[in-house]
């Protein structure tokens, strides 16, 4: 087994908000990604998944934010690195694809200009060579007539095309790691399928590590090899995807799977998770999910459950629960 490319260890990100309160957006997150592997982070609003992504690339605001822990990319510490060092990393060795391509692309610059900007910055090539490479990239991400597209502005392209351009920009200097934060949420479902297919190809061809952050369990099931489930700033369960979906042990994971309508109609009546994502208690006072958990007990309050390696499977799955569901209990009873 090769050395992991990215190792996030005990990451904490705390925001100081107006009024002196501190919000722990990320409260002790650890995971690793190997080259060529696709790791998923799934969670809803308030889970801290996007903040984790921003922390990896050093994109958090500088004021009012405290971080601790370690983020190692090929052995280089990213957390707390200087802006100068991070600028070398960003776009070159690690790149990000954002959710909304309309606001993540500069509306006043042509697509070509935004691409060549990255290419000349990181690969140090001259203008013409950069344009050639830009056209190649657009072709690789499946945009027809790439040379003409270089002259287009973002608003002249459709949502799917813009997202492909974002991916092209991310690929410009052949990064070892791509972080995709809800890359297809804003897209139509058939376009989403195209973009996911493109990401799969890219990972296959270049052996890129991909961190896929999303709330969509279907996307996770289709593209990720291992999955981390985040709730209120911590990872509550992680496992290889088949094991996670076939036998989810944390009650939040189970709740999510039971409440999501499926295309193949395999559920019967939806069982929602009661309450809302803001019905949380601080991890220091017990399990954050306790107010909404169907299997809550006294042991769940008082202190945070530790992250344990599931003893019952041989898979390095981890679990943060003192009353987990037993192994081998699927959420659906079959099709």
């Amino acid at each position: 087994m090769s050395e992991p490319l990215l190792v996030v260890d005990d990451l904490h990100v705390t925001f100081q908000i107006h009024g002196g309160r501190a919000v722990r957006a990320v409260d002790g997150v650890s995971f690793a990604v190997r080259a060529g592997e696709t790791v998923g982070i799934v969670g809803e609003s308030g889970s801290g998944k996007s903040v984790t992504a921003l922390a990896i690339l050093g994109l958090l605001p500088s004021r009012g934010v405290t971080t601790s822990g370690s983020i190692l990319l090929n052995g280089q510490q990213l957390l707390g690195a200087s802006e100068h060092d991070m600028q070398d990393v960003r776009g070159r060795r690690a790149a990000m694809v954002f959710q909304d391509p309309m606001t993540s692309l500069n509306p006043v610059l042509t697509v070509g200009r935004q691409l060549t900007e990255t290419i000349t910055r990181h690969l140090g090539v001259k203008r013409d060579a950069a344009r050639d490479r830009a056209a190649e990239l657009l072709d690789r991400v499946g945009i027809p007539e790439p040379r003409q597209r270089l002259k287009n502005y973002p608003h002249q392209l459709s949502g799917g095309m813009r997202q492909r351009v974002m991916i092209a920009i991310a690929l410009a200097s052949d990064p070892a790691l791509i972080i995709a934060d809800e890359p297809t949420t804003a897209l139509d479902v058939t376009i989403q399928a195209q973009v996911l297919e493109l990401l799969r190809e890219v990972v296959r061809e270049s052996n890129t590590a991909l961190v896929m952050i999303t709330h969509d369990l279907g996307v996770i099931a289709g593209i990720c090899e291992s999955v981390n489930v985040m709730y209120s700033g911590r990872i509550v369960e992680s496992n290889e995807r088949h094991h996670l979906f076939a036998s989810p042990r944390h009650h939040y994971t189970r709740g999510l799977l039971a409440s999501v309508p499926r295309l193949d109609g395999a559920q019967g009546r939806l069982v929602p998770i009661p309450g809302s994502p803001s019905d949380v208690i601080a991890w220091s006072e017990g399990c954050a999910f306790a107010p909404r958990c169907p299997a809550v007990s006294d042991a769940c309050r008082g202190q945070a459950p530790e992250l344990t390696i599931s003893p019952d499977d041989d898979n390095n799955g981890t679990l943060r629960c003192v009353q987990p569901a037993p192994v081998g209990m699927p959420v659906w009873s079959g099709r």
């Binding site: 195209q194 996911l196 409440s259 999501v260 994502p277």
Partner: protein
């Protein structure tokens, strides 16, 4: 109970320096027929730009109709004007997508819910307040919510407020335009269940507009698939999902991710090429032919109309039968997954 015939909504494109000339039109809705029997749910699905939201707004006369009729229990909604239209509005209510924008931030919940009641004089005096409490109960909100303001609630709760407001007018038909798309995953189920329960209790009729095929399957009796302003297939829900006939429906269904890795690994993916054509310049003939893997020369010339292939199952495709045969030959049992 709701009958829509040949609905067309075209938005003119104007150009010109001084005088606006109409140079073309965006054919957002280009000939749509719908029938929704009482107390059932029709799911209208499609991707962005297909015109499904415009259909909903046209039924409510929130956008002008270019042609066609909307008839509701023998009342021709499309022909009403002014005061008559205003009074008729209480029978058809809408639930909006964005729970943050669809409530007036300066009105408290009680005021929001009583507005339809007072506007149409459905209750007076003390009965109004009582009705508000009834409505809050029926959507699962605490009674104390009445004095609070929208920004004090979460997205799911605001959506419930919106539903309570829609119910306050005692409508017969509710048009739900993407009612759960803006909500967290774990909350979507709460609202979906609520809508289903209310339908059972009150005998409501729903037109559910959504891009989320899994949600639509869950509470629809009939489903209609729209593409570029026209319906390409309509069928009872079970039939559409287990036996889709139109190539677009096939592509659509095969593109929806399923939270089950076993299914995802084994399913047939039909990935469409290219992008949606512009609604102001739709392809000739069958609007889908530019992206259809089965396209023939006829498809470029003749626009197909909806024709019935099985009871209640209509498809707008020249070669629907041939395609169905070819698919079941290659895939065996399950067509989509």
């Amino acid at each position: 109970m709701l009958e829509v015939r040949n609905l067309q909504v075209h938005f003119p494109i104007k150009k010109g320096l001084v005088f606006d000339r109409t140079v073309g039109a965006v054919r957002a809705v280009d000939g749509v027929d719908l029938t929704i029997p009482r107390s059932t749910t029709l799911g209208l699905v499609g991707e962005s730009g297909c015109g499904k939201s415009t259909v909903g707004k046209a039924i409510l006369r929130l956008v002008p109709l270019t042609a066609g009729t909307v008839t509701f229990d023998n009342l021709e909604l499309s022909a009403l004007q002014n005061e008559e239209l205003r009074k008729a509005r209480r029978h058809v209510q809408m639930i909006f997508q964005d729970p943050y924008a669809s409530l007036n931030p300066r009105q408290n919940v009680e005021s929001i819910i009583t507005e339809p009641i007072r506007t149409h004089q459905l209750r007076t005096g003390a009965a109004v307040h009582q009705r508000v409490n009834e409505l809050l109960d029926s959507v699962g909100l605490p009674r104390g919510a009445a004095s609070r303001y929208p920004h004090e609630f979460s997205g799911g709760q605001r959506q419930r407020i919106g539903i309570a407001r829609a119910l306050a007018a005692e409508p017969d038909l509710i048009i739900a335009d993407e009612p759960v798309s803006a909500l967290d995953v774990s909350i979507q189920a709460q609202v979906i269940n609520l809508l289903a329960d209310l339908q059972e209790q009150l005998g409501l009729t729903y037109l559910l507009i959504s891009h989320d095929l899994a949600v639509v399957r869950h509470i629809s009796d009939t489903v209609a698939v729209m593409y570029l302003g026209a319906i390409v297939e309509t069928a009872p829900a079970e039939a559409l999902y287990t036996n889709p006939r139109h190539p677009y429906t096939l592509a659509l269904l095969s593109a929806v991710p399923v939270p089950d890795p076993v299914v995802e690994d084994s399913r047939h993916r039909m990935v469409l090429q290219g992008d949606l054509p512009s609604p102001s310049n739709p392809p000739s003939g069958c609007r889908f032919h530019t992206r259809c893997v089965y396209a023939q020369s006829r498809c470029e010339q003749d626009r197909p109309v909806l024709r019935e292939l099985a009871p209640g199952h209509q498809v707008a495709c020249h070669f629907a039968e041939e395609i169905a045969v070819s698919i079941s030959a290659t895939r065996g049992g399950d067509v989509v997954l």
